[in-house]
């Protein structure tokens, strides 16, 4: 059982929905970013998605693109991202960390070495945007064998015929992308998302978390109400991009987490 499985078991037992927060590792620099990550559990975050910076984030909108650029300009790398996770783990051994990003930095590092290093750093799961089920042999299967969760994205274009293939090697939770589009785009209607979440839940026992386009505590609550939890990324990253202090960022995160937890 990974920290992710344990966390969802705990939330289910308490009758609570999950709040998942994304930030880009090293944005705007290592120290500020680590300060934000360390404050996330106290702000009510159940699962941390830690962005792995990449020069060519094809599925991300301007907010996450710029965050990645800031991180890379400050000298962030895959190794430093794992070091940040390890530093977080010194004081927190329960909050799950999911590393989210693109495949090339991992492939460049070497898959076997990456899995060893990620495990040692206390990473619990991976969301790798450009690895669909068709490329499972690359990282998904080795990651599961190494005891890491591999979390898959399901999208509005994932029809009933394709859904089993997407769910087959997924573990931890399923991330439903509520819109066809990039991160930080317009929000989806909760009315449209409900039936989609129900469709996915009918095909899996895993928790279904919804993200893309959630920017306010109200939306966080509305989405969590019709699913197992909400993910917010761009709205938080925007504040970091504006140069707000770690405390101000965390105060905003708390309002989003409270929203999801009210659901």
């Amino acid at each position: 059982m990974t920290r992710i499985d344990a966390k969802f078991a705990e939330l289910t037992a308490a009758g609570k929905k999950a709040f998942v927060a994304y930030i880009m590792a090293g944005d705007p620099d290592y120290d500020t970013s680590l300060q934000v990550v360390r404050g996330l559990p106290d702000a009510g975050v159940d699962v941390i998605e830690l962005g792995l910076p990449f020069t060519d984030p094809m599925a991300d909108g301007p907010t996450i693109q710029l965050a990645g650029q800031r991180a890379l300009e400050s000298g962030m790398t895959l190794k430093k991202t794992l070091a940040m996770a390890k530093a977080f783990r010194e004081a927190d051994d329960t909050t799950p960390i999911v590393l989210m990003g693109y495949y090339n930095p991992i492939y460049s590092h070497g898959v076997a070495a990456f899995l060893d290093d990620a495990k040692a750093a206390g990473i619990d799961g991976l969301i790798i945007v450009d690895l669909p089920p068709e490329e499972d042999s690359e990282l998904c299967i080795p990651a599961q064998a190494a005891g890491l969760n591999f979390i898959r994205l399901a999208t509005p274009t994932t029809d009933d015929k394709r859904l089993p293939k997407v769910l087959q090697n997924t573990s931890g939770f399923v991330y439903y992308v509520s819109i066809t589009g990039i991160t930080g785009a317009a929000e989806a209607e909760a009315g449209d998302v409900g039936p989609e979440v129900a469709r996915i839940k009918a095909a899996t026992d895993l928790p279904v978390i919804v993200g893309f386009g959630i920017k306010t505590p109200e939306r966080s609550e509305a989405i969590a109400k019709i699913s197992d939890g909400a993910v917010v990324g761009s709205a938080i990253v925007d504040l970091i991009g504006q140069g707000q202090s770690a405390d101000d960022v965390l105060a905003f995160v708390r309002t989003l987490a409270d929203g999801a937890h009210r659901a």
């Binding site: 060519d56 693109q65 930095p105 460049s108 399901a154 274009t157 394709r162 990039i182």
Partner: protein
């Protein structure tokens, strides 16, 4: 059985879109169903005679194919070795090989009922070809172009706008071809129902590398027939320039199983293939990685971050290369070399002076390599170089490089 199919170099890709370890389908889940649809539609079209009949008709009457295979007598005489032929794809409508592929993809888009076409472009040649074919068929056309390229290729930007296309300057990243491709993919992921992504080279997720190659293979097929007619045999060497590698793959593919034919691809060496990465030579200066939907050789740093290429030729300014080239490189069926900006400029001037052909800077890289190897080859060595584009678009760049002031308004 004339050919041993199991040992053929022409069977790729496999059902997963792989050429050996290269290629594949590294895209987000939102796009995955779309590329599977495209693959199914292309598989149907590939064996549909009416599809190819329409292509042949358009190639002949709209593009002006077949393009000539021209014996460059003065160049041959000047270099004093191999007999040099130029495959004249710069004479195509829109001035480059790009339209061969665009026609195929737009016919597919029409079969799939897609009404909105998106494309990425670097130098603007693929953008112009796409805008052209969209105008002909009355389709909405949006071209993503790096803001930096928009600035240095204004004539092509204006051409695209005249043809009714919307040109979107891309400011994300550093505003070059790879960023334009990122933004085109972002558009596609947002507009999944009505949009067809017309990729300009033999890269991207499967089936693009194979599909674009098949559309460009008309170059090699014609060359084979024309050479048989002119000389009664196969050429000894075929040479082409490579950015993403579509004109080269088009020329090479029909010759892959003709073991006697030397195949040479020429990458852009920029200021020289050195540690400072001031070049676009993915095979000679990069290593395998995953970008834009495929695994291939890429310019990247130790952390797997993608580096910007550098070349005088905007059309070669891409940090990757088609996956089939990566495979041909690794198995050794084709040889890949690089040529610097300075060498390409010399070739540019030689082509103008000796053959009366103003070439695009892209094929000048291939010509520069011809200049290196032709003198040492015997007179009966038949060498074909793909003159894949004309140089009108490049005259300002060349003038600047030669220190000449050109007043565009004069």
């Amino acid at each position: 059985m004339p050919e041993d199919l199991f040992n053929s170099f022409m069977n790729g890709p496999d059902e997963n879109g792989r050429f050996g370890d290269f290629g594949g389908r590294f895209v987000s889940e939102t796009l995955m169903p779309l590329i599977l649809d495209l693959e199914a539609e292309y598989e149907k079209a590939k064996t549909d005679e009416s599809f190819w009949a329409e292509m042949d008709h358009l190639w002949k009457h709209y593009v002006g194919r077949p393009s000539p295979l021209y014996h460059a007598e003065r160049l041959t005489e000047h270099l004093g070795g191999a007999k040099i032929y130029l495959k004249r794809d710069e004479l195509n409508h829109t001035g480059a090989h790009k339209i061969n592929n665009v026609l195929g993809q737009i016919l597919l888009a029409r079969r799939m009922g897609k009404t909105r076409i998106i494309a990425e472009t670097g130098a603007g040649q693929h953008g112009v070809a796409t805008a052209t074919v969209c105008a002909k068929f009355g389709l909405e056309c949006i071209v993503y172009m790096g803001a930096h390229d928009v600035e240095r290729q204004m004539p092509n930007v204006f051409r695209m706008r005249l043809l009714g296309a919307k040109v979107v300057p891309v400011t994300s990243g550093r505003g070059t071809l790879k960023d334009a491709m990122n933004d085109a993919l972002r558009d596609w992921v947002t507009n999944v129902r009505d949009t067809f992504y017309c990729i300009g080279t033999v890269a991207g997720p499967h089936p693009y590398p194979a599909m674009v190659r098949d559309f460009q293979a008309i170059i090699g097929k014609e060359t084979k027939e024309q050479m048989a007619e002119a000389e009664g045999r196969l050429p000894d060497t075929v040479i082409a320039a490579i950015g993403g590698g579509s004109n080269a793959m088009g020329l090479f593919f029909p010759f892959l199983d003709d073991k006697s034919v030397n195949i040479i691809g020429v990458e852009a060496g920029g200021k020289g293939v050195n540690a400072k990465m001031e070049h676009c030579a993915s095979l000679t200066g990069g290593r395998p990685g995953v970008l834009h939907g495929n695994r291939t050789y890429l310019l990247q740093d130790d952390d797997g971050q993608i580096l910007e290429g550098f070349s005088i030729s905007a059309g070669l300014d891409y940090p990757g290369i088609g996956p089939e080239h990566s495979w041909l490189h690794e198995i050794g069926r084709a040889k890949y070399v690089s040529i610097t900006d300075v060498e390409a400029l010399e070739a540019f001037q030689l082509s103008c002076a000796l053959e009366g052909i103003i070439p695009a800077l892209e094929p000048c890289h291939a010509l520069a390599h011809v200049m290196k190897i032709a003198p040492a080859l015997p007179a009966d060595h038949l060498l074909v170089m793909n003159m894949c584009g004309r140089g009108d678009k490049d005259i300002f760049t060349v003038a600047k490089a030669l220190g000449v002031e050109v007043d565009a308004g004069g």
